[in-house]
Structures are given as structure tokens and as C-alpha cells.
């Protein structure tokens, strides 16, 4: 499979007055053409910063300090802003979490969808208008001709998110980065958006990076999953690997702390005790060590490598070392 995006040893830090916050620490992954990958993790695990690093949109005082991001053969980390603008919105589409704040309230929806078409595809206004109507009906907005002249506040949350998706997709990008696209939406609207993204993956062969904290959404949409914890990769693999054969205690914890809506019997939830670590003072060893029920001495001292468990499956945990004690997945 051709990789559309290759991220190698990416590290991103925020240099604040209080010190360096290591938001993303040495992560690597790639995305194949037409593939959907999910990045899951709790707030502060570095998933959004990863997306912003890929798009070169890091806010001050954030900086990529190491690593490379290679998109369709072009290295993005040292690309000039002028060149980057030709990639962003054209070959790489973005959907942000909050549809209320990511649209410009003083421009009509039509104007905002037409902007990338006029800028990147060099269409004239008439052509751009027709294309915008086509995109709005593709994302399931009824009566698109009339809706073009409306302002964002006249749309509901679900409709605004569709407008965002239409904007992101109008230039037929090779890669769509969706940062929590359904978090602000109700379940029935979320279901509509998930179906829409599934169709897009099939119909226009766009690769998707889906960033979310909802394991259910990942299970429905993604071929592969990356589980992030405290800025680094805890486990990655195919969706089936991670959901049916998880090997990292953090993944076990995540899967156990959500109630199963199909369960017959009521089981007690098993939470992960403690709090996520402070990224200003990252522990020397495994970042999950203070919350881990299986922690050994080595876990507090050295960071575990990513062990290879299958063709795609990797997990960073000392329990996978050949001389570590064998533990059952369980309490």
C-alpha cells in the first residue's frame, strides 16, 4: 500500500514561562491511501497536538523539535508558510472539534465553501458556486441552493459540522484530518456524520485521520488505531488487534472503564485509578507507571520500547519483555 502520510519520530513541545511541556514525544505512524486510522486518548494525551503538528498549525509557543512529517512525498516540517498554504485546504482537509467556533460568523456559508475552490482550484465564482451546491448536497443538506446565502448562526450544530465537512472535502483532499468531529454533537447526529464519513472513504477514496476519545466511534470507522498516553504511543495496531487482543494495561483500562450497552448483566465498572501525568515533569520511565496495576521496578526507571506483536500490532510495555512475568488480562 502506498503511504500518503509518514510521521517519523515526531516530538512537539510548548516552551512556556514555566518550562517545556512535552506534548508529543517521539511518535511514528503512517497512513495508507484510502485508509482510516483513529488516534484515541484522554484529554492532554497529545492527540490534537499531533494533528496540529502535521498541518503545521501549532500555536505559539509550540514547536516541532524533532522528527519528520512526509506527506505525499513532500517534507512538511520545514516547508515555508506560502508553500504550506497550497497544501492545507487543498490536498489536506481539516475538520475541527467545535463547529460553533470554527466557521466565520460574518461570511455566508456559501462564501466559506467557495473560498478554497477559488483559491486552490482557480475556479471562477459561478463554477465555485455550482461546486459548493454539489458539496452541500453530498453531505446531506437539503435545499443547498438556498442555504448558500445563510450565515453559520442560522444552522444547527449538526448542519454546521456538515458545512465544515463540505469545506474540508471540496478540493478532494488526499487526507482528511478530523479532530473530534462528533464530540459536540448529539448521538443521532453523530450517527449521521459517521455514516457520511464512511461513505466518503469509499466514494472519493480519501484517507482519514480520526482523532477522538470515543472508542465506539473508532470501532465503527477505522481500520487501524493508535492509543496515545501522555504524548507517546501506548499501543497501535489494526482495530481488531487493539479491541480483541489489547496488550497494554492502559488499553485494558480504557476498554474496561466503558459500560457495554449490550451486556445482559450489570457489571461494576473498573476505572483507571489516579490522574494522567503532568507533562511538564514527565516521569523517567513509562508514563503510565503510577496508575498501572502491574508496574514493576523497571517501569519507573526506563521507558519501554514499542514491542512488535504482529504485522501491525505494537505496544510499549515492559510486560512484553521476554523475561517479564506473564500476566492475565484482567484486574
Amino acid at each position: 500500500m502506498n503511504n500518503i502520510l509518514e510521521v517519523k519520530n515526531l516530538s512537539t513541545s510548548f516552551f512556556t514561562h514555566a518550562g517545556e511541556i512535552k506534548a508529543v514525544r517521539d511518535i511514528s505512524f503512517n497512513v495508507g491511501a484510502g485508509e482510516a486510522i483513529g488516534i484515541v486518548g484522554e484529554s492532554g494525551s497529545g492527540k490534537s497536538v499531533t494533528a496540529l503538528s502535521i498541518m503545521n498549525l501549532l500555536p505559539y509557543p509550540g514547536r516541532i523539535i524533532r522528527g519528520s512529517v512526509c506527506f505525499a512525498g513532500t517534507e512538511l516540517t520545514n516547508l515555508k508558510e506560502r508553500k504550506m498554504q497550497l497544501v492545507r485546504g487543498n490536498e489536506m482537509g481539516m475538520i475541527f472539534q467545535d463547529p460553533m467556533t470554527s466557521l466565520n460568523p460574518v461570511y455566508t456559508v456559501g462564501n466559506q465553501i467557495m473560498e478554497p475552490l477559488i483559491r486552490h482550484q482557480k475556479l471562477n465564482r459561478g463554477e465555485a458556486r455550482n461546486k459548493a451546491i454539489e458539496m452541500l448536497s453530498l453531505v446531506g443538506i437539503p435545499g443547498p441552493e438556498n442555504r448558500l446565502n445563510l450565515y453559520p448562526h442560522e444552522f444547527s450544530g449538526g448542519m454546521r459540522q456538515r458545512v465544515m465537512i463540505a469545506m474540508a472535502l471540496c478540493c478532494k483532499p488526499k487526507l482528511l484530518i478530523a479532530d473530534e468531529p462528533t464530540t459536540a454533537l448529539d448521538v443521532t447526529i453523530q450517527a449521521q456524520i459517521i455514516e457520511l464519513l464512511k461513505d466518503l472513504e469509499v466514494n472519493i477514496n480519501t484517507s482519514i485521520i480520526l482523532i477522538t476519545h470515543d472508542l465506539g466511534v473508532v470501532a465503527e470507522l477505522c481500520n487501524r488505531v493508535i492509543v496515545m498516553y501522555a504524548g507517546s504511543v501506548a499501543e497501535k495496531g489494526t482495530t481488531r488487534d487493539v479491541f480483541y487482543n489489547p496488550r497494554h494495561p492502559y488499553t485494558w483500562g480504557l476498554l474496561k472503564s466503558i459500560p457495554n450497552a449490550n451486556a445482559e448483566q450489570k457489571e461494576r465498572l473498573i476505572p483507571i485509578d489516579g490522574q494522567p501525568p503532568d507533562l511538564m515533569h514527565t516521569p523517567a520511565g513509562c508514563p503510565f507507571c503510577p496508575r498501572c496495576a502491574y508496574a514493576m521496578q523497571i517501569c519507573a526507571e526506563d521507558q519501554p520500547p514499542l514491542y512488535r506483536l504482529g504485522e501491525q500490532h505494537r505496544a510499549a510495555c515492559w510486560l512484553l519483555h521476554p523475561s517479564a512475568p506473564r500476566v492475565e488480562r484482567g484486574r
Binding site: G158, D186, H213, G216, V218, F243, A261, P271, I272, Q275
Partner: protein, 335 residues
């Protein structure tokens, strides 16, 4: 009190909000809650689910009279509290408390944790002097926080810990009934389970009764004994939680349940989805007749003509839908 004693009974609750619209002060009415009836037994958890704007929070706030109801009756522990004045309510507030959704907005940033927790004790003159401190320490321990935190300010805590402080404040007056208004939706997945377990333990320990308001359908099944589903200000279905998930009757409940993303790739691939078309109509001008009919795939003439009543269809199962009721009664006549 026995196990099946009714603690709270709500009958035909209506809450309308008046909005002034336009220059000439034309009035528009938001029909946030319209004719909702249910009861909660002692020690039980009733879940209330629905999408944003369906009126579930308004129900929660109206039953403890943070809002004045427009019509209907609220009976708490055998006493009609609908018409009670604020002064008379105050003594009852000791018995009913609320936990809010947003752990950032619901704690006063200028007060220490100790002060936040002891404030209800002072207001209700339940403790004073050194006993006040003692009580606050006990409450902190009860919700799993270290007593050393007593002099800290809310900003020093994570969202999960703040929610624990909110719970401690609600528990301070030793209430019987707590409205939990989306207590976990602002929290991370791994922290949500901690808070839900805490709420369950406290219920066991103190015999609490919860009205649990949420939009998280998997969590509500886990925590509640019975669940009510709301749509646009109306209760459309009410049943025991296992019954509701196994045999949902109302078309809206079915769509809602099929929309839950399941964390299981194989099951997700096989799942049949009912995708609802369109968006929630405005509660200012709700559709006449059945409020769900504009998005319902089964809607017929009757649905726009008359408003479906809640009808008992099982031992503890009620539903408000013409189509479902017709189908169920047809079975007694045809063939």
C-alpha cells in the same frame, strides 16, 4: 420506609419560558417541558435521556423547584411542593440536592474547598465552629479526596476531582434525593468510571435516590433501574432499563439506541442503523400532534392530528406513540 415507597411523583409537569422577541415586545414561548409525568421510588435511580434541547435539564431543575413549574404537580415524600414559597422550600432543600454538569462553572473560584463544602452546613445551621471543619473533612474522605486539600482552591484540581467536590457539597446536608445533571459528561473516559462508581457506592451507603440526567446512553443503562426517554419536551417512553434496551418500542428510542457507537469492531460492522433524517425542530413552535412525526419514518395522518398519550404496554413499560399502540392493539383484533 419500605423499598417501593414513592419518594418523588411528578404529574403533568409543564415548564414554559417566555422570550420577548422583536421590537414591539411580541412574546414567544419556549415549550421546554410539556406534560411530563413520572415517579421515583425510594433508593432508586431513574435515568432521563435525550438529546440537547429535549428538556431533560429543565425537568431536573423544576422538580427541585430551581424553576417554578408552569403547571402540573410535584409531590415529594407525600407532600405537594408545587406551590411552596421560597421560604418554605428552604427546609426541604436539605433533602434535595443537585450535582451540576460543569465542574468548572459550578464551584466558586474564590472559595476554598473547605468553605465550599461547609457553606450548605452553615446555611441550614447544621454545624458550626470546630464541628464544621470536622464535617468538611469527613465529607472529603467520603468522596475519596485527601483531607489535606481542604484549604486549596478549585483551580488546583482536575475536572474529576472538582466533580468530587461538587458531590461532597451535595452530600453535606445529608439529602435523600439528588438530581445528577450530566455529572460525567465533562470528564475523561477513565475518570467517568471513577465518578460513577463513587455515586453508586454512596447510594448504597446512604440510601440515596437519584434522578440521573445524561445523553450518554451506555452509562445511563449501567447506572439506572428505569429510564425515561425525552424528545422535544415530552416523555416518549419509560421502562426498566433492560427492557428498554431489549425491546425499545418508540421509533425515537429505537433510532437513539441504534446510534450508540459500540466499542466492538465486528458488532459495529453488522449493526443495522436507523438513521434519523434532519434536525430537532424548535421548541418555540413544536410540530402539532406527535412532536417526533417530522423525523419519523412511520408517521401517518393521525400523528399530525392528535397528540399521543403515554400508555402502559407492559408491567413497567409506557410508550407514547400512535403507531406502536395501534400495532399492539391490532394483535387483539385481526386474525
Amino acid at each position: 420506609m419500605g423499598k417501593d415507597d414513592i419518594l418523588l411523583k411528578v404529574d403533568g409537569l409543564v415548564k414554559h419560558f417566555e422570550l420577548s422577541q422583536g421590537f414591539w415586545g411580541r412574546k414567544a414561548v419556549v415549550q421546554a417541558v410539556d406534560d411530563v409525568s413520572f415517579h421515583i421510588c425510594q433508593g432508586e435511580t431513574l435515568g432521563l435521556v435525550g438529546e440537547s434541547g429535549c428538556g431533560k435539564t429543565t425537568v431536573g431543575r423544576t422538580v427541585i423547584k430551581l424553576y417554578e413549574p408552569t403547571a402540573g404537580a410535584i409531590v415529594f415524600d407525600g407532600r405537594d411542593i408545587t406551590g411552596l414559597k421560597e421560604k418554605e422550600m428552604r427546609s426541604l432543600r436539605k433533602r434535595m440536592q443537585i450535582i451540576f454538569q460543569d465542574p468548572y462553572a459550578s464551584l466558586n473560584a474564590r472559595m476554598t474547598v473547605g468553605d465550599i463544602i461547609s457553606e450548605p452546613l452553615i446555611i441550614h445551621s447544621l454545624a458550626r465552629g470546630p464541628k464544621l471543619r470536622e464535617q468538611a473533612v469527613k465529607l472529603l474522605q467520603k468522596v475519596g479526596l485527601s483531607p489535606n486539600y481542604i484549604n486549596r482552591y478549585p483551580h488546583e484540581f482536575s475536572s474529576g476531582q472538582r466533580q468530587r467536590i461538587g458531590i461532597a457539597r451535595a452530600l453535606a446536608v445529608n439529602p435523600d434525593f439528588i438530581v445528577c445533571d450530566e455529572p460525567i459528561s465533562a470528564l475523561d473516559v477513565s475518570i467517568q468510571a471513577q465518578v460513577v462508581n463513587l455515586l453508586e457506592d454512596l447510594q448504597q451507603e446512604m440510601g440515596l435516590t437519584y434522578l440521573f440526567i445524561t445523553h450518554d446512553l451506555s452509562m445511563v443503562k449501567h447506572i439506572s433501574k428505569r429510564i425515561g426517554v425525552m424528545y422535544l419536551g415530552k416523555l416518549v417512553e419509560l421502562a426498566e432499563s433492560s427492557e428498554l434496551y431489549q425491546r425499545p418500542l418508540h421509533p425515537y428510542t429505537r433510532a437513539l439506541l441504534s446510534a450508540i457507537p459500540v466499542p466492538d469492531p465486528d458488532a459495529a460492522a453488522q449493526k443495522q442503523r436507523v438513521i434519523l433524517k434532519g434536525d430537532l425542530p424548535s421548541p418555540i413552535n413544536p410540530p402539532a400532534g406527535c412532536r417526533f412525526r417530522t423525523r419519523c419514518q412511520f408517521a401517518r395522518d393521525i400523528c399530525s392530528r392528535s397528540n399521543p398519550e403515554m400508555i402502559q404496554v407492559g408491567l413497567k413499560h409506557m410508550v407514547a406513540c400512535h403507531i406502536v399502540i395501534n400495532r399492539l392493539t391490532d394483535r387483539f383484533f385481526n386474525k
